[in-house]
Amino acid sequence: MKYEAVIGLEVHAQLLTDSKAFCSCTTRFGAEPNTNTCPICQGMPGVLPVLNRKALEFTVRMALACNCKINEFSRFARKNYYYPDLPKNYQISQYELPVAEHGWAEIDAGEGPRRIGITRIHMEEDAGKLIHDDKKPLSYVDLNRTGIPLIEIVSEPEIRTPEEASAYLRVLHSILVYLKICDGNMEEGSFRCDANVSIRHKGETRLGVKTELKNMNSFRNVQRGLHYEIERQTALLESGDRVLQETRLFDPSEGTTASMRSKEQAHDYRYFPDPDLLPLRVGPELVEKIRKELPELPMEKKERFIRDLGIPPYDAGVLTASRDMAEYFEKTVGLFQNPKSVSNWIMTELMRELKGDETGITNCPVSPHQLADLLKLVDNGTVSGKIAKTVFEQMYATGSNPIDIINEKGLLQVSDSEELAAIIGKVLDDNPGEVEKCLSGKTKLIGFFVGQVMKATRGKANPAVVNQILSDKLAKRSKM
């Protein structure tokens, strides 16, 4: 390939604080327009911001999880631009001195682990929402979202493919959710991403002209948008054209990007330190306190699953991709101490059902307790592994306990030797030709007899017991 892409991502994550960043209004989603507002977030004359300390703590949590250096002193700055969803016509953000800098996140886009540098993590406030009247040339503004705390996580331009971009986003997403500081909902906009992308000849060290992509509201759309943009820029260069520095909007229905504003139309944000807020100090004591309270992060958890529980790396990755899934797995293992078996069940049966339902583990109708019970029933021979899969389907569909389903449907495994001996005797009697062939060396036919026994018991026969009796009986017949 002649060209390579250079991608940098700016991720905005809404913090899960109870109140807004600089006033005490609630952050609850879905209220009537302009009800979660006060003079401060409405930008009334004379109001002043007071920082929500929880938002700062959440930011430091993320910064530590991303291996950042926490700046002992940081500053809020005003980003000045006019838009009706921004009541003060400036956004309180950070510029020269962010809360944290120089971090990294480890990703694996299928070519082994790689670190993506994180330039900075800073705090800012969200803007409101405009609602446009579809008939009249009128717009309405809803300030409920105004002032909700955000963190912006800026990556180094070290991402090379759309797949890496997606992997990086998934890592950040899962860390945020693990830390319980962001709900990660991309559709509602609590996790958003803008991408800066340029291309250059392989081996070139200078950066090409970049475009900024906006409006990619899912992992898949980030990948689609980047693919389109890389192809578009490549085509431009190959035809001897230039890439224009501009901001482009992704259109999810077409999978294309279109120019939104050029460099010349770009805002001059006239950043300067916000005189209403004092320099922010995050001392080493606070950093240590927050570091101690950090939960086990996805990467650490994955390594522990591989190392201590013997889970294969791929499975460990899937099980730790979300905090909820990992918790489900660990709860189940706590009740049934065979991690590999639990992992296999989750990776196959459970995931299949969830995928079919297009839902997540939090909505799973089978509790870890119920799954563990089922696995115990397999383990002690109450049901066969095969029957257990049917039982699981029933559990998922009805939410019932496994033992109730087994009893109700008569699925108890038949391990009784006399009962099985009678059935096996009948199967052998009914198939004299096959018995003869088997005895003369065609041992593959044992599988056929087992199949017949299973058919006769509707799958409930204990395979181990069947095998034992079957080989005993065949041995006897060969001596006759």
Partner: protein, 498 residues
Amino acid sequence: MEKPQNGLKDGHVSELYEMTATELAEILRTKKASSVQITESVLNRIDHVEGKVHAYVTLNPESALDMAREADRKIAAGDARPLTGIPIAVKDNMCVKGQRTTCGSKILANFLPPYDATVIRLLRDEGMVILGSANMDEFAMGSSTETSYWGPTHNPWNTDLIPGGSSGGSVAAVAAGEAIVALGSDTGGSIRLPACFCGVTGIKPTYGAVSRYGLVAYASSLDQIGPISRDVSDLALLLNLICGHDPSDSTSVPREYPDFTAFLTKPVGGMTLGLPKEFFSKLENPDVERVISEARKVFEGLEVKFVDLSLPHLDYGIAAYYIIAPCEASSNLARYDGVKYGHRAENFTGMIDMYCRTRAEGFGPEVKRRIMLGTYALSAGYYDAYYLKAAKIRTLITSDFKSAFEKCDAVFCPTAPSPAFKIGEKIDDPIQMYLTDVFTIPVNMAGLPGIAIPGGFSMGGLPIGLQLIAPHFEEARLVQLSAAFQKETDHHLKRPQL
């Protein structure tokens, strides 16, 4: 009925409106008059002289009388506090819930705040009687109160003259008997300059001593609310009321404040006042020079020592101020866009046009000038040369004062280079207007407390003010020095004839 110029000194029985808050508090305590009577006396005085002075933008006589009645109930119930029942004017940039607060601007001409500023809440809790909003330069940008959308305020000593600004309405109201005391705000001298021009006492407290919550911002890092009164005793009472930590203002400093009235009687012998040569080399007005040297003799009579010193970066004060203040203003005033409240242009085509027309119609020329200055100075490529450099000068001025205070207890200098000038004289010459604040601006730049007290009169009979500047949070020292001076002099007792 006209009052003699020196009402208290010739056996004349003063009208209630002529008295100080300290005197009126005693009258209220001893039930010689009610708050309603005091308020009526002031409202009556307003009726008589407001036409000549124009101290107010909005008068609220009915709500004032309601507050006075409430104050009388408190007094009768024994719940009186030191300033309960005293009528006060507040500058038109402090939000009073439900009462028009315009900041002297067309753009907020009909703005009714949905909340009370912290200082307003403190006044209410004290049971003071809020008379109305006092006139000011538009968004506090000016030194003469001529830039108000509502027209200029006149100096009560000579109504052809400006009262100084930007708190000209608050100060003129106190000087003219249209309020007993007042609150103003001071960003570059806006309390001290008019206090000087109108012969009253005014203090800009340390930055962070008084909450700015609810003060419509001009330049956030410089703005500070302060009291205006006829003498320093009243000032001490008001400082007791308004100084204090406010969790709603992140720049408000959490600390304890002394009882300022305890410093009204403390001797000053042995204290040292510093004379910065950079200030005195600028004195060109013989009246100001005479008043300063007479005042020095008064202090020397009180065994106060004087020491010459230098504040080498003072000369850059005005230049740096006219970068920092407009930069902050350009951002602070961005919210007046016609979207949410205030003036909105009637005819426009599209959003950007609405912004442009609204702001073109709503702001006056001085406000536009400063928004443009600030927008330019903050622009990409200019930030380092202007804002950053100005911020450095600010640090240097602060450290100049710090070294000065190693040699003296307070800095002593004039408040203004000349007495009040004529209405219209400097309004078309911004640089000349800006130079009026040469002695007051450095105090804001360093965040220090500064007091202006009447020091004497020009040959033409116009008040001339002195300024004392103390280290951070040493307002008490300014009260102490000013009270000692006022005990020896009667300049503060003189009243204009209207």
